[in-house]
Every structure is written in structure tokens, then in C-alpha cells.
Symmetry: C2
Subunit: 273 residues, 2 copies
């Protein structure tokens, strides 16, 4: 099992001022993460982007990504009304296993739950059923965790747990760090930098397949409209490889969300049998 972590710049919404379109663009990223089963998405600070806007946009990207990764039945609890979420009605659902649409889980099912309140015996958890489930551990309240349903009777009992054989959503990380500092926390085996100025992916296809198959923690970095990636990683301490994932692109520029889908599609076939 390979962990793929996608690094996107906080600048990638800068091309539009329309909040509905900004929302939809983040939705495209979220869908791509789920379609291609990406573990973590890291929003890094593009040094060429205005700091103030960068912090604001990063927060917006983080909020919408978290919203989309949250199952429908927990969204009202987890996200109070806020202006960043004004246009979430246009976002497509993920339709992943961690977003079940029925409200009657069976014993043994996994569910995301929202910790509503706690007493000295444990924590009451909303797992999208008519009544709250109970977890015999004292968890932080007002947070989302994953649970396994261990008993369904008069009481519904859950324990913190997550399946390891099916895709269970992504985690969004936003620390307003530059690319290098963001990478540091992941300490990847391999950093893949996508840039149109590198060799094309097909010219190094076999080399790349070999490299990624021996790496279990891979960072894929895409650039933004200001494209500062190239200057940033000259002294990386990780094994890194630059590739052009869109040989002979017909347009002068490729947008971040386009590069994400195009690149993850290629890595998907490199990583599956």
C-alpha cells in the first residue's frame, strides 16, 4: 500500500474572484483526491503569492476540503454557517465508502462520528442514526473520529477504529508553511515535482515505476499560477524527481486542478496492477 500525499499551493484560486467558482475548483481537487484514493493533501505556501491573500485562501481551501470529506449526516453539526461555505450546495458528493447514505449501520460497520458530549463513562457520538451512539472512551468533544459499530441493541456501542482495506477519505493539512517545511513533516521516500520544464513522464516511465514501487510514502507536488516550485527545492534532502506529466501540452499554461487530475491519473496506473 502506497501513501500518496498531494501538495497543492495556496495560490491556486488566485485566477478567479468568483466565490462559487473558487468553491467548485476546490471541489474538483476533493473529488480527485477521493477518485484516486489520496491519503493526505497539504496546502503549501506559494512564496510568490501575496501573504494575506495566501492565508485567507489556504483557510478557505482547507475548510471546503474538510467539508467535502465529511459525510453528509455530520455536516450540519461539524460546520456552523459561515461565509466560506456559502456555495457548498453546488459541490458534488464524494460517494466514497466513508460517506454511507443509509442511516442503519450494521454491527461491524465503520462510521464516522461526531463527538457530541462526554460523561465519566464515555462519549456520546452522532453516527448518523436516530439516536446517539456511545463510546466507552473519553474523547475530545465536537470532533469527528472514525468508529466501528460493535453492538446494536437498546444502546449502540462504538469504538474508535478505521478500516485499513478500503479508502477512508483524506486528511487536509494547512500550516501556512512553504513547500520545504511542509515536506519536512512528511519525510517522504520520494518527492515528485511536476513541471512542464522537466523530462516527459513517458521518457522515464520505467524508472519512475521502479522508484515509486519501492517508496511507500510519496509526495506529489503541483505548482500554481505563480509557479514557484522550481526555485524551491534545489537542496531537498529527499530523493526527488522532476517530471512533465503533460507532454506537448496544447495550452500555454495548465491549471492546478487540471494538473492534479492528469497527474494522479498517471500515478494511479503506475501504482495499481
Amino acid at each position: 500500500m502506497h501513501n500518496i500525499n498531494l501538495f497543492i499551493p495556496n495560490s491556486f484560486l488566485a485566477e478567479t474572484n468568483d466565490l462559487k467558482i473558487k468553491t467548485y475548483k476546490v471541489g474538483i481537487i476533493s473529488r480527485a483526491l477521493a477518485v484516486f484514493r489520496i491519503k493526505n493533501v497539504i496546502i503549501y505556501k506559494d512564496n510568490s503569492f501575496n501573504d494575506e491573500n495566501g492565508i485567507k485562501d489556504a483557510k478557505f481551501i482547507e475548510t471546503v476540503l474538510n467539508y467535502m470529506n465529511t459525510p453528509q449526516y455530520l455536516r450540519k453539526r461539524a460546520f456552523p454557517i459561515q461565509s466560506d461555505l456559502r456555495h457548498v450546495g453546488i459541490l458534488p458528493p464524494l460517494r466514497t465508502p466513508h460517506h454511507p447514505t443509509d442511516n442503519s449501520p450494521q454491527k461491524g460497520d465503520y462510521r464516522q462520528g461526531f463527538t457530541v458530549k462526554r460523561n465519566n463513562k464515555g462519549t456520546f457520538v452522532d453516527i448518523g442514526m436516530d439516536k446517539l451512539a456511545f463510546c466507552k472512551e473519553q474523547l475530545s468533544v465536537n470532533k469527528i473520529f472514525s468508529f466501528k459499530v460493535t453492538k446494536i441493541a437498546k444502546e449502540i456501542i462504538v469504538t474508535p477504529d478505521e478500516p485499513d482495506d478500503i479508502y477512508w477519505g483524506y486528511k487536509t493539512i494547512n500550516k501556512n508553511d512553504g513547500l520545504k517545511k511542509s515536506l519536512n513533516k512528511f519525510d517522504p521516500n520520494l518527492v515528485v515535482i511536476t513541471t512542464r520544464y522537466a523530462e516527459t513522464i513517458n521518457s522515464i516511465f520505467d524508472e519512475l515505476r521502479y522508484k515509486i514501487n519501492k517508496s511507500n510514502n510519496i509526495a506529489i507536488v503541483v505548482g500554481g499560477p505563480y509557479s514557484s516550485v522550481e526555485n524551491d527545492y534545489s537542496d531537498f534532502k529527499w530523493e526527488s524527481i522532476e517530471i512533465n506529466t503533460i507532454p506537448e501540452q496544447g495550452t500555454q499554461t495548465v491549471r492546478t486542478e487540471e494538473a492534479v487530475v492528469a497527474t494522479l491519473s498517471l500515478f494511479n496506473i503506475l501504482l495499481t496492477d
Copy 2:
């Protein structure tokens, strides 16, 4: 040089009622066509989709695709104000060679032009300069053609011509035909049907590479939310191959525009060196 023709269903906007988002979704397709240098895009009739909505949506898709493929300097002339184009302000530019941003072409340059009026000596053409150019052929008026600038003096002379070594945009075809009838007009060497129920692209990567490299006219078919492709092509007279271009997809469904970018990305690396 391989001609890739992309077949998309008229139903692919059915998931949303928001005209701005419908517009943006067509924009994603248009950008993908240009990024991956696709020759023709054919809107086929999804038989499972409501006929009336299908005709309306197909017309909308056609209009927005044509609008995006038209250089900025001709859009006002070529597209009278209409409700389908209410939200074109949010569309990204293609930034292709056939959309030059300067207004001073040189002799030998290619330009798209709009035929404004005609006399018995030829046709006046708007190629985005301060004054109209003249073409010594009698062309239909109020249409867009490609020209080569052959003389720049007191008069600017152009002749109908198109470069064959650079990507020069796509052509949109919308005849409200079903998939089979739409394919008939292209008579492709190879029809590629994308469906999650087929073998994965990586399991037949070399076979596929061989097949597409001996085909100069390839049809790539993507489905829509009603996904009627599978039932449609059992008695195709063309060589055809079914593939799953998104092995182990993490979501229950993949949207048409996602499938388009993911699939064209893979074909791009199969077709470039």
C-alpha cells in the same frame, strides 16, 4: 499525427441545475480538449436522457465549446448576446496558439478571422487588427475561418489556410445523433470505450499502445450520469476496445469531466514520445 476525437454524452450536465456551474463544467471539457490537443469533440445523444433536455443541453454545450474555441478578439462579433452565454465571464482562456493576444500579426502568421462583408473582388475579414483584412476569395459571410497573412501594407491580405504543425483548436459536432450514428460519420480505425466494468488500462497497456499507434483516427467515448454506453455498441463494425482508465476508483461514480481529463492524460502519454 493521430487524430483523437472525443465523444461526450449530451447528459453530462444533468447533475446540476446551476447555469454558472454548467458553464464551468463545459469549460473544463474545453480546456482538456486544448491541453491534450484533441481534433474533434462530438456530442452524442444519451438514449437514457430525456429527449427535450438532451437537445437543449447539447445546444448549450455546443455553444459554450464554440465560444471557448473562438479567439477573444472575435467573440463579440461571432456570438450575439444570448442567455446560454450569461456566465462566460468565469471561463478560463485557452491560451493556445490559435488565440494570439497581440493585435499586430506579422506576414506569414496564421489567424482566425470573421468574414464581415463581401464584394465582387473578395471578402473583408476581421482578424483582430485595427482595420479589416482582405481575402481575394468569395467566402460566406458571418463565419470564422483560418487565414494566413500574406501581405501587410496599406492593405492587409489574407488567404484561407491553417497550420499543420501546431495545434489549431478543436471542432465541435452536435447533430443529436446517438453514439453509433455519431461514430458512423467518423469511421474511426479504433473506438475506445471507457467504462469501469472493463479491464484496467494497465493490464492491456502494451496492447493498447500498439493498437493506437497504428490508428490515425481514434474515437474515445466517455459515458454520462446515465451511462448507457455499454448497451450501445455490441454490434460496432469498427475495431473497438473497452478499458477502465481509472483502476480501483475510490468513489462510486466518476463524472464525465473527470473521466475526460483522466483518460486524455493517459492517451497523451501513450501517443507522445
